[in-house]
């Protein structure tokens, strides 16, 4: 293979690698009031795949975590519930099974709590695959969150992993 042939091939492979490895692997269509935060600081140096906010402080964050142990959806649901409800004092308002647009089964937990005299809502949608754990967190003041809750949950149902 001559040098002029190798260079374009390497360039193409690099682009493909960048596209696959560096961009978000999760597709989430949030309501219009959200703006995506794409800077490194707000993505917490790679902790979040997606992070978005509204002007009145409703924030959504998606994490894609390496699934290092063989935990089931039920295992992680209970682990999250124990952490958030039992240790952090959130009220578990309701929960239900959900499914992503790409077919993964998941579980949605709706929490709530009061902070500094204001009511807050905090939802976690969890999807578990053999390789990865997908975590969608959404929260904000109840007044602001209620107006967007159905849009956020619709986005979770339409999410492709």
């Amino acid at each position: 293979m001559t040098r002029p042939t190798i260079l374009p091939t390497l360039f193409t492979l690099t682009l493909v690698a960048l596209a696959v490895g560096c961009g978000p692997t999760v597709q989430l269509q949030l309501p219009e009031r959200f703006v995506m935060l794409t800077d490194d600081a707000n993505l917490a140096r790679g902790r979040y795949e997606v992070r978005a906010t509204t002007p009145d402080g409703v924030v959504v964050g998606v994490q894609s975590l390496e699934h290092r142990v063989d935990g089931s959806l039920a295992f992680w649901t209970e682990a999250i519930t124990r952490r958030v409800r039992d240790q952090q004092g959130y009220a578990l308002v309701s929960e239900e099974d959900v499914r992503s647009a790409s077919g993964e089964s998941g579980h949605l937990m709706r929490f709530a709590r009061d902070l500094d005299g204001h009511g807050y809502k905090y939802s976690i949608a969890l999807f578990v695959t053999p390789d990865r754990i997908y975590l969608v967190e959404a929260g904000g003041r109840t007044v602001a969150y209620d107006a967007l809750e159905s849009g956020i949950e619709e986005a979770i149902n339409q999410m492709r992993l």
Binding site: L37, R83, G89, A91, D114, Y120
Partner: protein, 279 residues
């Protein structure tokens, strides 16, 4: 000598009900000075009154027995208003009478709930409205706690409504059977009232100031005892007619108790605090 006989006569009257407590000590002293067979036979007939130390004058409502005796209570106090049936809005149930004690157990229901912290003020408002709607009332409301009183017949229904309001952390329901105490109090009050009448008659027969003063002193003691018993009976009647539900809004603490943490860092960073911290 005549005054001494007067005192003995009054003391004999006091022995009759054998009411217990301070009264009993007084009666024993009198009996020593010749109370007579009549006093002893009366004591025997009401001896049951003094044999209920476990319930007598106990105001600790948490001593109740657990379990569900609600149906029994509904039968005893208000046959037409069994739990689960529509409440008689705004119509507080009549307080139980001594006759109720003959028909079945008289039970005091108490519930203590703890809900996870969430929209405390709104939830307190809803609980207060539930109490009013069920014919009850607000008893106390503080920053993170509310106590309501509801008619006993509506206790279970209101409790179920409150449990649906949020995330229940703890739930304690206790039932205290006060039938015996209620019956004893009623009996002792009737006996004391009869004795009051008899001592009053003695007052009219007093022959000098000294005798009159002695009788007056005894009348005062009877009156005081009667008022205490009537007060306790009113308290019990109220507790039987209206159940107490206390709801505490609390946050789980992670400081006092050792907690188990799974070895996954991402679990520890869950929560609004991390999510909403933007840069």
């Amino acid at each position: 000598m005549r005054t001494t006989r007067w005192c003995v006569a009054i003391a004999t009257l006091m022995v009759l009900p054998a009411c217990g407590g301070g009264y009993q000590a007084w009666a024993e002293t009198s009996a020593d000075s010749g109370g007579g067979g009549y006093a002893r036979s009366e004591s025997a007939s009401v001896s049951r009154s003094t044999s209920a130390p476990s319930l007598a004058f106990s105001s600790d409502e948490s001593d109740g027995e657990g379990g569900g005796g609600s149906a029994r209570y509904a039968q005893a106090t208000s046959p037409s208003e069994a739990p689960g049936q529509p409440p008689s809005s705004g119509q507080p149930p009549p307080p139980p009478t001594a006759d109720d004690a003959h028909h079945g157990p008289l039970l005091v229901y108490t519930a203590n709930l703890a809900l996870a912290v969430h929209q405390v003020s709104e939830k307190q408002g809803m609980i207060e409205a539930m109490a009013t709607e069920a014919g009850g009332h607000l008893d106390e409301r503080t920053g993170n706690q509310i106590r309501i009183r509801v008619p006993a017949a509506n206790f279970e229904r209101v409790l179920a409504q409150i449990l649906e309001l949020g995330d229940v952390l703890t739930r304690e329901v206790s039932v205290q059977d006060v039938t015996e105490e209620f019956h004893d109090l009623s009996l002792r009050i009737r006996t004391l009232e009869a004795m009051y009448t008899r001592v009053q008659q003695l007052l009219t027969q007093a022959e000098n100031v000294e005798q009159a003063l002695a009788v007056e002193t005894h009348l005062q003691r009877i009156t005081m005892e009667l008022e205490q018993m009537r007060g306790r009976l009113r308290f019990l009647s109220n507790r039987i007619a209206f159940s107490t539900i206390t709801v505490r809004f609390q946050e789980r603490t992670t400081v006092a108790e050792p907690t188990f943490d799974l070895p996954f860092q991402w679990l520890r960073s869950l929560g609004l605090q991390d999510l909403m911290r933007l840069r």
